[in-house]
Structure formats: structure tokens, C-alpha cells
């Protein structure tokens, strides 16, 4: 029941802003594909073109062999779309919203209950509550249920976890995995770099450009240089001092430590770094080898392409 997506040389301008700068990539049938990028990367524009809500200036998009411009009516039958802004009816109850969306697609809640069961069970205790009175996490689950009500082959989710806390984010991704197991192709965008690791393949986006399209593992494997995590007694001044360290290509804060990227042999860098910090009278110096994660890669790619 799943579909593949083919995107070719997509260009979209809004007056003089180039929202999409010649984007091409494919999404495989049945995969969970992530578009990772900050606000202004072009994620929403891409999704709106793909769901036939706006037209591209150049290029084409095919979903399961359907041209999204010529055959938009067919397309809309097979996709479920969850926009970034909550767009259900605030003054309808949970149940009323679901029934409303079901009827638009000439189906019913009971007909496709099996598909949304896992999600709907979590919001069912509040089925008589108005959508406007739900918490953030619950609203997301209702929106997801509504996007699934007509058994779409492709699910397009625009930043479903923005502004959602870490617990709800985790639960939401578990639900997406379940939907994928039922054969639905999923395209999801997010500004959270850690969610990239949960996708089969991801495209990293920044200001209308694709920085990389690959599996999360391959993106991490392509990281150039050695990565060290550095901690000392004084983390505030450490960053500016490390910026002056000879062997450092890049330094940036990363949670409890500071990450330092170097192209020099790792043991040599570690030793000279330790000396460098000791001379500057730092104490409790900890230097550790570190495996890069997607955020390290994204930072490296941003720097390389100068897309700031």
C-alpha cells in the first residue's frame, strides 16, 4: 500500500527569496524519511508543493507515479497531511473532529479503526473534550489520527514535534514506527537533530539547499576528522580558549562538554591539548574520543557550504 516519491529539480521563489534552490531526491516505498533543518530551511515549502497546496516555479514531483500538479485530485486521496500549525477544529470535540475528517473522505471511524487504534486509544478518554482544551501532546495525537483516518499510503508530517516535550516526542516517534510497520510511507520534518537517527534516510536542509541525503549511519560515517569532547572546571572561558588552540578546526558547545574537531592525528592532538589547557591553569581536564552524531555532521556541513 506504500508509495515512493520522486522529486526533481524543484525551485520555488517568493519574490526575491529562494525558498527551494534546485532540490532533487527520492523517497523509497515504505520508508521513514526525515527532513532535518531549522526554521527557514524550506521544509514547509517543499511539503506544500508535494501535497499540491502550492505550485513550484520549476521541477516536478511524482508520488507513486502521480504527478502532483496534473493529478492533484488523485494525489489527495492517497496522502495524509499534518501541517505544522494545529489546524483541527478547536470548538469541536476529539470525536467530532475525527468523524468530520472521516466523512470528508467518505469513510468512518469504525471502518479504519484498526489503523488508528494505537493512537486513538491514548486520546479516547478525552473524546468528549474540545480539541482546543487538549494539551500539546494530545493535540498532536489527534491531528495524527485525523491524518490517518482515510488510510493514506503516504503520511506527510510537518514538524509534528516542535514545542513538544522530550517525553511526548519519544512517544510520538514510537507511533510513527508503528505506522511504518503497517506499510505507510512517512515523510517527516523536524528541527530536532536527535530525531534524524530514528529515520531510515534523512535529508539535511538549510536555507533552501540540501546539505546531504543519506542514511543517518552513512552521514555519521562521512564525518571528516577526529572529534574530541573536552571538559574542565571552567566551561564558560573554555570555549574562547579552545578557539585559540592550534589543532582545532572547529569548537562548539555540546551539552555538558565542548566538542573539538581536528584533522591531526588524535593522540598527538590530545597530548598537546592537555598541555595547552594545563598551561592555562585549567583543572579537572577531561578529554575523550567521541563518535559524532547527526548534529556534529550538520554543523560541519553548514560550515562547509557556508549556508549561514
Amino acid at each position: 500500500m506504500s508509495v515512493n516519491i520522486h522529486i526533481e529539480h524543484l525551485v520555488k521563489k517568493f519574490q526575491d527569496v529562494e525558498a527551494l534552490k534546485d532540490i532533487s531526491f527520492d523517497v523509497e516505498k515504505g520508508s521513514l524519511f526525515g527532513i532535518i533543518g531549522p526554521d527557514g530551511a524550506g521544509k514547509t515549502t517543499l511539503f506544500r508543493i508535494l501535497t499540491s497546496l502550492i505550485l513550484a516555479d520549476e521541477g516536478k514531483v511524482m508520488v507513486d507515479g502521480i504527478d502532483v500538479v496534473k493529478d492533484y485530485k488523485k494525489l489527495r486521496q492517497i496522502i495524509g497531511y499534518m501541517p505544522g500549525r494545529f489546524s483541527l477544529y478547536m470548538d469541536l470535540t476529539v470525536e467530532e473532529n475525527l468523524n468530520f475528517y472521516a466523512r470528508i473522505f467518505h469513510t468512518s471511524l469504525s471502518e479504519n479503526y484498526d489503523l488508528i487504534k494505537d493512537i486513538y486509544e491514548q486520546i479516547e478518554p478525552f473524546k468528549n473534550r474540545r480539541a482546543g482544551d487538549l494539551s500539546g501532546g494530545m493535540k498532536q495525537k489527534l491531528a495524527l489520527s485525523c491524518a490517518l483516518i482515510h488510510k493514506p499510503k503516504l503520511l506527510v508530517l510537518d514538524e509534528p514535534t516542535t514545542g513538544v516535550d522530550a517525553v511526548s516526542r519519544k512517544e510520538f516517534w514510537e507511533l510513527l514506527k508503528k505506522m511504518q510497520q503497517r506499510g505507510i510511507t512517512i515523510l517527516v520534518s523536524t528541527p530536532y537533530m536527535d530525531e534524524a537517527a530514528l529515520c531510515d534516510r534523512v535529508s539535511l536542509m538549510q536555507t533552501g539547499n540540501l546539505l546531504s541525503v543519506n542514511t543517518p549511519q552513512q552521514i555519521v560515517n562521512n564525518f571528516l576528522g577526529n572529534l574530541l569532547a573536552v571538559k574542565t572546571n571552567n566551561m564558560y572561558t573554555l570555549l574562547s580558549d579552545l578557539e585559540r588552540f592550534d589543532g582545532a578546526d572547529r569548537v562548539y558547545r555540546f551539552g555538558e562538554s565542548i566538542h573539538l574537531v581536528s584533522q591531526r592525528p588524535i593522540d598527538e592532538v590530545k597530548q598537546s591539548l592537555r598541555d595547552f589547557l594545563s598551561i592555562k591553569a585549567y583543572q579537572k581536564i577531561e578529554i575523550e574520543n567521541k563518535q559524532p552524531v547527526i548534529e556534529d555532521c550538520f554543523l560541519a556541513l553548514m560550515e562547509k557550504t557556508g549556508t549561514l
Partner: protein, 245 residues
């Protein structure tokens, strides 16, 4: 270690909306110059507590002292001592950068001379001199965010409240933003910040984690990780904050 000055003192703070208890006996102190992370799940009661601390809402009971002022009795006085910035920052898109400074400076009652001084100071610091006469709507999000932070600081507040200040920005801008926070704290401004990015929780000196209207944990990130046997703050958060309707 010498005794640090307490700048926010909260004791048995309770806030009820009808039969619903949004804040259930919150008790904590924040020190001057500290970066204090105020974490919690959606609906845990963070925004309610922040509104009370900034004089926008009155507690049902309990004691809340902010910069030496009793918030329940003098909410207007508190507002002069604090700065506030949220993710949906309220800058004026159809005014220029400079005009936004003049507007906010005016609201806080700064003199024309002082406003000019502060405007120059921040434009230099953010390297935004060439943007000063540009309409705000034409400025990239990352810059706007730094500008919003500067405007919230224009009157040299004792405490600055940041409500999810870095939502949606790219990882480089997010880090530049945190350098501004560090710098402000280094100069003695207390920073009270909420975030859903758990790596940012690590940048705080101490964090509290709320769930169901109560503070379930409070301490330095390192101590909390030890206490909960977790490798990261994300794991600590997942252990504490359960989703409850």
C-alpha cells in the same frame, strides 16, 4: 564557597484554577548571576509559575520574592527589575531595528541618551550596524532572536526570563544565542530559562524539573545524572516527567 545572594525566593507557591492545581507547593531559590533551567513536560505548570514570577499572575498562596520585591503585593515594581523574552518574541515587524530599541527603551523609561547608548552598544556587539535602518520583518530569524534578547536586556534587569528562546533555530545560531546567555550571566544578570532541548539543560548551572505541578528534581545537571543513574539530561527528564493529563 561564599554564601551566594538569593535573587528569587519561592516558598510553598500554590496556584489553583478552580479545582485544578497548576502549581503545587513550589519551593526553590535562584542565585544572582545563575543560569537556572526550568524544565518540565508540556502542561507541567512552567508557564503558570513563570507568569507569577514576572508579576503577570497572582499566586493563590505562598511567598514569592523576586529581586527583593514581594510579587503578590507589588507586581508592577517587579516588572521594572526583569526582562522577558519568549519564542514568539514581540518585536515590531514594521518598525526598523533602531525604532524597536527606541520603543522598548521608552517603555522601560530610559532617557533618550541612555537609549542611544544602549542601542549602539548592542548593534556593535551583535555586529548589526548595517541593519539598523532595516525593517524587522526583513531580518533573518536568528538575528531577530539575538535582537529580542538584547531588547529584553535594554534596561539592565536583575533577572531575564527566557521562555523557549531557541525553538526552531539552526544549531549554530542556537549556540551563538547561548554565548549571549553566558555573557549576561557572567556580568551578574540572572537567567531563568525554559527549553525542550535537553543538551541546553546541560548549559545551566542548576535545573529544576517539573511534573504535574510539582518540582520533582532540582540540582546541578551532573548531580541529577548521578542521582537518577542516567547518562544524559534527556534520560533524567524521561525518568521524571511522565505524561499526565
Amino acid at each position: 564557597m561564599s554564601q551566594r545572594e538569593t535573587i528569587i525566593e519561592v516558598k510553598d507557591l500554590v496556584k489553583k484554577f478552580g479545582s485544578f492545581t497548576a502549581n503545587d507547593r513550589l519551593t526553590f531559590d535562584v542565585y544572582r548571576g545563575e543560569i537556572f533551567g526550568f524544565l518540565g513536560a508540556n502542561g507541567a505548570g512552567k508557564t503558570t509559575a513563570m507568569k507569577i514570577l514576572s508579576g503577570l499572575s497572582r499566586p493563590t498562596s505562598g511567598k514569592v520574592m523576586v529581586a527583593g520585591i514581594d510579587v503578590s503585593h507589588h507586581p508592577e515594581k517587579v516588572k521594572r527589575k526583569i526582562g522577558y523574552m519568549s519564542q514568539f518574541f514581540s518585536l515590531y515587524n514594521d518598525m526598523t531595528v533602531k525604532e524597536n530599541f527606541r520603543f522598548y527603551g521608552g517603555i522601560y523609561g530610559l532617557s533618550a541618551k541612555k537609549i542611544r547608548e544602549r542601542t549602539q552598544f548592542y548593534l556593535d556587539k551583535l555586529d548589526m550596524k548595517s541593519y539598523e535602518n532595516m525593517l524587522l520583518k526583513n531580518i533573518p530569524l536568528g538575528w531577530k532572536q539575538k535582537l529580542a534578547f538584547s531588547l529584553a536586556n535594554i534596561h539592565n534587569p536583575d533577572i531575564i526570563f527566557l521562555d523557549e528562546p531557541t525553538g526552531g533555530v539552526d544549531p549554530i545560531t542556537r549556540r551563538q544565542f547561548w554565548e549571549l546567555i553566558y555573557e549576561a550571566a557572567d556580568q551578574g544578570t540572572t537567567v531563568f530559562v525554559t527549553t525542550h532541548y535537553m543538551d541546553e539543560a546541560e548549559y545551566c548551572e542548576r535545573v529544576s524539573i517539573m511534573s504535574e505541578g510539582q518540582i520533582k528534581a532540582l540540582g546541578k545537571p551532573k548531580a541529577l545524572k548521578e542521582q537518577f543513574g542516567a547518562a544524559t539530561m534527556n534520560d533524567v527528564f524521561l525518568k521524571i516527567a511522565r505524561n499526565v493529563e
